[in-house]
């Protein structure tokens, strides 16, 4: 009985997602380790890292879906939270290099020695401890989102205005991180990491470990989002999304709900960034470019806004497409991405999951669902009932 209750709680797509993640968690490491390299079933380590990267993007997409799909806040600055989480992790990895850097300085990272700095800036202290870095991974994006959201939501900056100032925020951060004086490696960012918690980052074992960690984090993030969305608070969020003024007049403190979900979402994005950095081995200011944040929004739109599972599908799917295109037809990638933006907004307002759910009832009942043609808002409610 509890099984059906659980599956009902997760929803049909949610069940499939978690099962798929569980299968991936078992299959990918096994295929990498057990099958010989010439076997068709073998998965190369490079691919494992790539998949891990996609999972990080999926977590980022999930965090965007939480604010955009369920609360109507279109943030064009989530890439900034992602990058801040990445930088926090990168700082720890930098400190862990220790005296193995090019200049062999036991405390200062290479780029600081290069800039003739004599001591560590105050904000670099503590990052030699893993637990501290982990705390910062969620606290720094969370604090920024809290401060930013507190200001913006209290003065009722909504809609496109909010989108534009979140974009300005990530743009300002990008400019700031490009400066050498900031003490984050300037243009080059942080790189040349050696190991994490004593495990060599280049070793297959560590990479598989990071992949598994990404799978687990994605699953946990999905369950957390599901908890938020299905709770009473989640219902209020949907009310805010659909009719903000009405929710306010009924007596809900709209800005508090928004602030809560925005902050949680930013922390989630930070976590995604922290997982991303050890896998790709570099973090630099280009992660802050506004284009990155907007691209992340389109993942959500492609998969299906307000569905959570759709965000994961979009995050993984679009990035797979990107890897393929930039490898095979680099000229065409921007055409494809741009076309995707237009097609999805014009013809698939509910994304891939929307198409699937339109198609299924028709098959079962042979009656077209009449309301599905109104594209104004994603009909997330049909997913909730499942």
């Amino acid at each position: 009985m509890t099984g059906t209750a659980l599956s009902r709680w997760l929803g049909g797509p949610g069940c499939i997602l978690l099962i798929a993640l569980a299968v991936a968690a078992v299959y990918v490491p096994a295929a990498n380790q057990l099958f010989p390299p010439d076997s068709p079933l073998h998965i190369e380590t490079v691919t494992v890292v790539l998949l891990g990267k996609y999972l990080c993007f999926a977590i980022l997409a999930l965090s965007i879906d939480l604010v955009w799909g369920y609360c109507g806040i279109l943030s064009l600055g989530h890439g900034a939270f992602f990058a801040l989480g990445g930088y926090a992790m990168g700082m720890h990895l930098m400190r862990e290099i220790g005296s193995r850097g090019v200049y062999g300085n036991p405390v200062l990272p290479d780029f600081m020695v290069f800039l003739n700095w004599s001591e560590l800036p105050w904000y670099w202290h503590g990052f030699d401890q893993f637990w501290f870095a982990l705390l910062m991974v969620v606290l720094v994006p969370g604090a920024l989102a809290f401060a930013f959201g507190a200001l913006a939501f209290r003065s009722r900056v909504t809609g496109v205005y909010l989108s534009i100032i979140t974009q300005a925020m990530t743009f300002a951060l990008m400019l700031a991180f490009f400066r050498n004086e900031m003490g984050f490696g300037g243009n080059n960012g942080l790189t040349d990491f050696k190991d994490v918690l004593g495990f060599d980052l280049q070793a297959d074992g560590t990479r598989i470990g990071l992949f598994l960690l990404s799978v687990l984090t994605l699953a946990a993030a999905f369950i957390l989002c599901r908890m938020i969305v299905l709770s009473r608070l989640g219902k209020v969020l949907i009310a805010v999304r659909d009719a903000e003024s009405r929710a306010r007049f009924i007596g809900y403190r709209v800005e508090r709900y928004k602030l809560f979900v925005f902050t949680i979402s930013a922390m989630m994005a930070g976590l995604a960034g922290a997982l991303y950095v050890p896998q790709v081995g570099i973090i630099n200011p280009s992660e802050f470019t506004p284009a990155n944040s907007i691209e992340a929004v389109i993942w959500v739109a492609v998969g299906g806004r307000g569905t959570l599972v759709g965000a994961v599908i979009g995050g993984i799917g679009v990035n797979m497409g990107k890897s393929y295109f930039t490898g095979a037809l680099p000229e065409l990638w921007l055409f494809a991405l741009g076309g995707l933006f237009i097609l999805v907004t014009l013809f698939m307002p509910r994304g891939i999951l929307g198409l699937v759910s339109d198609w299924r009832p028709r098959r079962r009942n042979a009656t077209p669902s009449g309301s599905s043609d109104t594209p104004a808002e994603p009909a997330a409610a049909s997913e909730e009932r499942a």
Partner: protein, 536 residues
């Protein structure tokens, strides 16, 4: 550069030195003493040459100072020698006529040291002060102003008495005052010199006065200190004016970039993320026009921008109308989706331009009337910047007139204020939408023509303006053209005033943070529209 200067001097002096054949012999005799001379002897010769007062010796002295004067070991004849491979090309120092060549070992350089070079410069200065050419006289006076050589005072006195041109005389008087301050002249004369120098308050005056402060007697030191303070106050004022100018210049660029957006976003409420690409298209139209003119009709180059303006308006406007009809009209009332779709469009447009023209920067030239600069008091203004400010204001004025005074503008405003009512009155709202969007895009294209003059014409041109443009429109107040004007200019000035204290990057960051905070305080911008319409 030095060689060219030398050649010019040689030619110029040859023109008016020809009749003085008798004197030329004297000069040649003096010059011959240079062969194998020691520094001391060379200094004597330089003084004697200067004493002839003949401008014909200027090229000789210039060559000597530059280390280009050689003598031939075989006959002690003096030549200007220019190294050409392993040999030297010789020419006569007075007439500039070619005189064959010589091997490395056949000629020997007439060596000069720093004190000699100084003497040579002063001698040239004195000689050229009386030149019939005004530019030469001015250059000589400037040289003395720099060297502050007291030996030049008598020459300057003669020159000042003879000078007809008022501005040149002023320059000479300043040069004389600078030389006096550097000399052993008495107190009253120096005091007068201080006031002459301080009268024109620029950076040079400040450094001349500060140099004179060393070892000055108390009364003079007091006068200099007050004068310096005055000069510095005036300098600070001018530098502030210069900052305002730079700010206005940046503001006009922002205005150009944002003004089309003020129509599409401000008036119509369409979040057009492809706006920057319209600017880029305008810039590329300019590039294409210039390319065609370069190959077909080079004479028209100076008017290439004027030809590009209507074309850019047409092309960008047509692309805008196509976008509106093809994509945006399906998305009215869904601003967030519009944002995403137009972002997609911007990616496609960028990549299309990249595919056609390549990813590198394209060369767009400036017509002659846009290059150069002029001085206004203590300000240096470049013509390019002046034209861009003028152009931005003209475009703005034209847009205001179109929206306020024409039938089309009336319809646009009617449709944006109350679509259904406007439709009931017989306005074709669909067409008005398309044309308004086309107008906004066309204006962006026109802006691209101007921005092609100051920015790199590359596929990424638009991207660098999109965030700034939105900031300007939102800051100024959506739906208000005057707000856009004030917003653009004030953000430009603010940016330039922050730059000296914070650096370019940090200044920009601070401005962004300022706008983000400002929007919290006034979510509808500087000049918000009143009423309920804005709540949609």
């Amino acid at each position: 550069m030095r060689r060219i200067l030398l050649a010019v001097l040689v030619v110029a002096s040859a023109l008016f030195s020809a009749p003085l054949a008798a004197q030329q012999d004297e000069i040649r005799a003096l010059m011959a003493e240079l062969a194998g001379a020691k520094f001391k002897k060379t200094a004597e010769v330089v003084a004697n040459l200067a004493a002839t007062g003949d401008p014909a010796v200027v090229p000789v002295l210039t060559a000597l100072g530059a280390g280009d004067l050689f003598f031939r070991k075989s006959d002690n004849a003096i030549f200007v020698a220019v190294k050409d491979g392993r040999r030297y090309q010789l020419s006569d120092p007075l007439t500039g006529a070619a005189a064959g060549d010589a091997g490395r070992r056949e000629v020997k350089k007439i060596r000069v040291n720093n004190s000699l070079r100084r003497a040579i410069r002063a001698a040239i200065g004195t000689l050229t002060l009386l030149s019939p050419d005004r530019a030469t006289r001015r250059a000589a006076a400037e040289a003395i102003l720099k060297s502050r050589d007291p030996d030049a005072i008598p020459a300057l006195d003669t020159a000042i008495a003879a000078e007809q041109d008022e501005r040149t005389r002023g320059l000479m008087e300043r040069a004389r005052a600078a030389a006096v301050l550097n000399s052993t002249a008495g107190g009253p004369e120096k005091l007068e010199a201080v006031s002459v120098i301080a009268a024109r308050a620029d950076q040079d005056a400040r450094s001349i006065l500060l140099a004179a402060l060393e070892g000055a007697e108390p009364a003079l030191a007091d006068a200099i200190t007050t004068a310096v303070a005055e000069v510095e106050r005036s300098l600070a004022l001018w530098s502030m004016a210069q900052n305002v100018w730079y700010g206005l210049s940046l503001g006009s660029v922002l205005l150009l970039a944002a003004i089309g957006l003020a129509i599409t976003f401000g008036v119509m409420g369409v979040i057009n993320m492809a706006h920057g690409e319209m600017v880029m298209i305008g810039a590329y139209v300019t590039f294409v026009v210039q390319e065609i003119i370069r190959t077909q009709a080079p004479a028209l180059f100076d008017v290439s921008l004027l030809i590009a303006l209507p074309l850019a308006f047409g092309v960008a406007g047509a692309v805008g109308i196509a976008i509106e009809r093809g994509v945006i009209r399906f998305l009215y009332g869904r601003p967030l989706e519009t944002l995403l779709a137009t972002w997609g469009l911007s990616l496609i447009l960028q990549q299309a331009v990249r595919t056609i023209f390549g990813p590198t920067n394209q060369e767009v030239g400036a017509p002659s009337w846009m290059s150069g600069a002029f001085e206004l008091g203590g300000l240096t203004l470049t013509y390019g910047r002046v034209w861009i400010i003028v152009f931005a204001l003209v475009v703005f004025a034209a847009l205001v007139i179109v929206l306020r005074r024409t039938n089309f503008g009336l319809q646009t405003r009617a449709v944006t204020q109350n679509r259904r009512m406007a439709g009931s009155m017989g306005i074709r709202t669909n067409w008005t939408d398309a044309l308004t969007f086309g107008l906004g895009s066309g204006i962006a294209g026109v802006a691209g023509v101007a921005l092609s003059q100051i920015d790199n014409v590359s596929p990424n041109l638009g991207q660098s303006y999109i965030i700034d443009s939105f900031m300007v429109v939102v800051f100024g107040g959506v739906g208000n053209l005057w707000g856009t004007l004030v917003g653009a200019l004030s953000l430009g000035v603010l940016n330039k005033f922050l730059e000296p204290y914070a650096g370019a990057m940090l200044g920009k960051i601070l401005v962004l943070v300022f706008i983000i905070l400002f929007i919290q305080k006034r979510p509808r911008g500087l000049f918000a529209l009143k009423g309920r319409a804005v709540d949609q």
